[in-house]
């Protein structure tokens, strides 16, 4: 009851190896599962140029996590992201089916 869809974009350090990147994603997945969330998908945008230097990096590996969970899941996930120095930037958006600003929301009832 009361599951909300969220999406989090993370910008991962581009200098990491493939395995290290997978490790970061696996960690995120674990945290979501740990706090009884459902991971819908991880959309990997891949390596992109940053518009400005962030953490002394010119590039970043972008990935979008879509998941369902209770409101506390964002807090837990973001705390973990902050402690993870492999992640340069992150942004979490609550996906509301009514508002189109975040993303094309699907009705929550389908996933339940």
């Amino acid at each position: 009851m009361g599951l909300q869809e969220y999406e989090t974009v993370i910008v991962v350090d581009p200098d990491l190896s493939e395995e290290q990147k997978e490790e970061v994603f696996a960690k995120m997945e674990n945290i979501i599962k740990q706090y009884s969330g459902i991971l819908k998908e991880i959309e990997k945008w891949g390596l992109r140029n940053l518009a400005f230097k962030a953490n002394h990096k010119q590039k970043g590996y972008y990935a979008l996590l879509r998941y369902y969970g209770k409101s506390d899941i964002v807090e837990k996930l973001e705390r973990n992201i902050r402690m993870n120095d492999k992640i340069i930037r992150f942004l979490t958006i609550k996906v509301s089916p009514k508002v189109s600003t975040g993303s094309s929301g699907e009705p929550l009832a389908e996933v339940g």
Partner: protein, 91 residues
């Protein structure tokens, strides 16, 4: 010979319209950078409504989307920084 310019209006005034009202399928999102890029100036500032012609509602949504994209380093906050000056020298 009389030129038609004297009688007619010299500049054709094009009515601006909100592109997002005209096309409801056009989604405003921080992920859609190509569209957001059209609403920032070459200095990286958000274009005012009087220039872009957006309606108030969609301008609000665009503003939020651009700010989100900036946070993720998808769009620049400004282009007058040191790193860009260096870039210009290279070019």
């Amino acid at each position: 010979m009389a030129t038609p310019n004297h009688t007619k209006r010299r500049f054709y005034i094009r009515r601006k319209f909100c592109r997002f009202c005209a096309d409801p399928k056009l989604e405003i999102s921080y992920k859609n950078i190509d569209i957001l890029r059209q609403f920032i100036t070459d200095r990286g500032k958000i274009m005012p409504r009087r220039i872009s012609g957006n309606c108030a509602r969609h301008q609000r949504q665009i503003t939020i989307a651009i700010k989100r994209a900036r946070h993720l380093a998808l769009l620049p906050y400004t282009t007058t920084g040191l790193e860009n000056r260096q870039k210009r020298e290279v070019i």
